[in-house]
């Protein structure tokens, strides 16, 4: 580490800490990583943290309390570049699967009852870019080691890592897996960004969509295809929303509209 080493911070909000854990899981590169950049703040890994200006902030997790929102804004002010890591930070994660359905208060009450709130006010989880500008999203639940390390080396050098713009189906084809969707089973592949290496279909299991929505999403086509295959429309939407969060909320609402109009 030299004086000119890029300064970075690693932060976690509402989620499972899996993306920070994946950084710690880079066992073979961890020592080099700590040497190549100056890690100013990484509360999960160390206790000597310095909260000042930094070149890049990596932020995991969705935002679901007022206190978190204040902290996020503070990080944004201090960071030249802010990178959202993981599906929660990028799209809201599973806790945002019912985003904007108007029933958050009901769910909140079902868990907390009428208990009086003494701490920071909580709200429905949303992705980081719902509140502050984000330069780059590295999705994944959790992020992939290789994709993260490649991205770090590009981002700290001021370059764009250019993640895959296509769905995970491409990776699945490269592995020569049989198509699960063609076989008539629900698979979220066509809606899901590539990057994991098509792990689930390679284990004879459908993609669950944990990388979040791919670029140029066509939710309608998947919805209609699955309906033709006899799936219950409600179940299709539920499965699409499971990891889609803020990335599919509007698209799903558009699909629901004609159904509501019929009523």
């Amino acid at each position: 580490m030299t004086k000119s080493s890029p300064k970075i911070g690693i932060y976690g909000f509402t989620g499972c800490a899996g993306d920070q854990l994946m950084i710690l899981n880079c066992e073979d590169q961890l020592v080099d990583l700590f040497g190549a950049v100056e890690i100013r703040s990484f509360v999960m890994a160390k206790s000597d943290n310095h909260e000042g200006e930094m070149d890049v902030a990596f932020v995991e997790g969705s935002i679901s309390t007022e206190a978190q929102l204040e902290h996020l804004k503070d990080i944004r002010k201090r960071a030249k570049v802010l990178v959202a890591i993981g599906t929660c930070a990028c799209w809201g994660g599973p806790q945002a699967m019912k985003l904007d359905d108007g029933k958050y208060d009901e769910r909140y009450k079902s868990v907390y009852g009428n208990a009086k709130i003494t701490v920071s006010k909580a709200f429905e989880a949303q992705p980081v870019d719902a509140f502050v500008p984000v330069e780059l999203k590295i999705p994944g639940c959790p992020i992939d080691k290789g994709e993260f390390l490649r991205s770090v080396s590009k981002v700290v050098a001021g370059r764009h890592p250019y993640l895959y713009p296509f769905p995970v189906c491409n990776e699945c084809k490269w592995k020569e897996n049989e198509c699960i969707l063609t076989a008539g089973k629900f698979c979220a592949g066509p809606l899901t960004k590539a990057g994991c290496g098509a792990i689930c279909p390679s284990h004879n299991l459908p993609c669950v969509g944990c990388w979040g929505p791919t670029d140029d999403l066509n939710v309608g086509a998947e919805y209609n295809l699955l309906k033709e295959k006899g799936y219950n429309p409600e179940e299709i939407l539920q499965k699409i929303r499971k990891f889609g969060g803020a990335g599919v909320v509007k698209l799903v609402k558009d699909l629901e509209k004609p159904k509501e109009a019929k009523k």
Binding site: M22, Q95, H203
Partner: protein, 428 residues
């Protein structure tokens, strides 16, 4: 009235802090504050198919992801009348052993050890303790590898499913991990020597109750259908509510657990206290060498218990892997009913994890998840309070007291994301 505060507890999973409230020299209260945001996971899975629940609930926590997966599978299989084939059960044992090595090596070396040796992080220890840090990374990498081989990837693998696995691990890979596990036993033994040589302050010592699962066949293990209590009782895991008697504290949103109005602890030390006599191999010798009645009082010894457990896990991985390799791939077992209820209890690295499900017409009607850290919260606070009182009486400086309290909280290996998957806590 004065308060001492640590806002962001470092080297733990999740966002927590500690607040000590003092009235002159008297300690009014010590609290573990949890700032982690709420996610309402249990309310979100209501109405889902069981298979979809299995994608969501492991996301409560990355470090115990497979424990969540397995506890949910056990609960759901009971509810749906699924009898998983033998090979699936043994492969699940293997995945739990992998998670145990991964999590215990991460916690002992990278999260807890720097305090004892006076460093801010494991990476900062590289110059002086390079061999130990590298040893930790080797163990962790291997644990991760076993998790990936069985579950599909390092974190949040989807390969374990109801009734079996999407794809069973290959013979060649299983043979490789058997060899590698044997090679790594000395690394884990060194961890026991290291943690056995540390000074454990007596300040936090106070008797408590310990709970763990009762692993079948009188063996040491990480899953079981009944719960052992250190007072000699045994309770069916379906009665988990009697054991955890969750209650809402008026001044906090965290549901708390007490047993007969006493705090209790879960984790590696509880497993050693309740099942330690069942250990075999080197783990047995190391347990005999290091175990004492101090384990019943001092939560810091959980670190040593985790190190001994790593030896046990590594010694058992070869035979379990070889067993998996020797069996033909069975068909995935199917549900025999669409309505029912069931509770799964497994030992996450940080203690008992319960998943209870009620299924109606094939959909989840109710999910109840009780995490180890939620069970430990009261016990952590009880030990912290005793420790703070004694240190204050001895005239210790505020900083020293806070540091000692941090070490106690950390020793429980708390998973704050887990503890607060549905709750948020802040004391006034």
């Amino acid at each position: 009235m004065k308060t001492l505060n640590i806002r962001a507890l470092a080297r733990v999973e999740g966002d927590g802090g500690i607040t000590v409230t003092l009235d002159g020299k008297k300690v009014k209260s010590v609290t573990l504050d949890v700032h982690e945001g709420p996610r309402l996971i249990e309310s979100l899975v209501k109405g889902m198919k069981p298979e979809d629940d299995l994608n969501v609930v492991p996301r409560i926590c990355a470090i115990c992801t497979l424990s969540h997966k397995y506890a949910a599978i056990r609960g759901l299989e009971k509810a749906l009348g699924i009898t998983a084939p033998e090979k699936a059960l043994i492969t699940r044992d293997l995945m739990m052993l992998g998670e145990n090595v991964e999590s215990n090596s991460l916690h002992t070396y990278m999260l807890a050890l720097p305090d004892f040796l006076g460093y801010p992080s494991a990476i900062a220890m590289l110059n002086d303790y390079g061999d130990d840090v590298k040893r930790a990374l080797r163990l962790k990498k291997f644990g991760n590898h076993v998790m990936a081989l069985t579950s599909g990837r390092i974190v949040h693998g989807e390969n374990p499913i109801l009734g079996g696995f999407g794809k069973y691990p290959g013979k060649k890979e299983l043979a490789e991990i058997a060899v590698r596990a044997r090679e790594l036993v000395p690394d884990a033994v060194r961890a026991v020597e290291l943690f056995g040589s540390l000074e454990y302050p007596v300040y936090p010592e106070v008797e408590t109750v310990f709970m763990s699962v009762n692993a079948p066949k009188k063996k040491f293990g990480l899953a079981g259908d009944s719960i052992l209590i250190s007072d000699g009782k045994e309770v069916d895991c379906e009665d988990y509510k009697k054991l955890t008697s969750e209650r809402v504290v008026p001044h906090s949103f965290a549901k708390r657990s007490m047993y007969k109005d006493r705090t209790f602890a879960v984790g590696a030390n509880a497993r050693m206290i309740n099942m330690g006599k069942r250990l075999d191999g080197q783990a047995k010798d190391l347990y005999k060498e290091h175990y004492s009645d101090r384990w019943l009082r001092n939560p810091l010894l959980n670190n040593l218990a985790q190190a001994i457990e790593m030896v046990w896990a590594l010694e058992h991985i070869p035979e379990v892997a070889e067993q998996v390799a020797s069996m033909d791939d069975p068909k995935t077992a199917e549900p025999t009913r669409a309505d029912g209820a069931g509770t799964g209890a497994v030992e996450a690295p940080r203690g008992i994890l319960y998943h209870h499900y009620e299924i109606k017409d094939g959909l989840i009607d109710k999910a109840d998840i009780i995490t180890p850290t939620a069970q430990n919260l009261d016990d952590i606070e009880a030990h912290m309070k005793v420790c703070a009182e004694r240190m204050m009486a001895d005239g210790k400086k505020d900083d020293e007291v806070l540091f000692a309290l941090e070490m106690i909280a950390r020793a429980y290996d708390p998973c704050i994301s887990c503890a607060t998957h549905l709750v948020e806590l802040k004391r006034l």
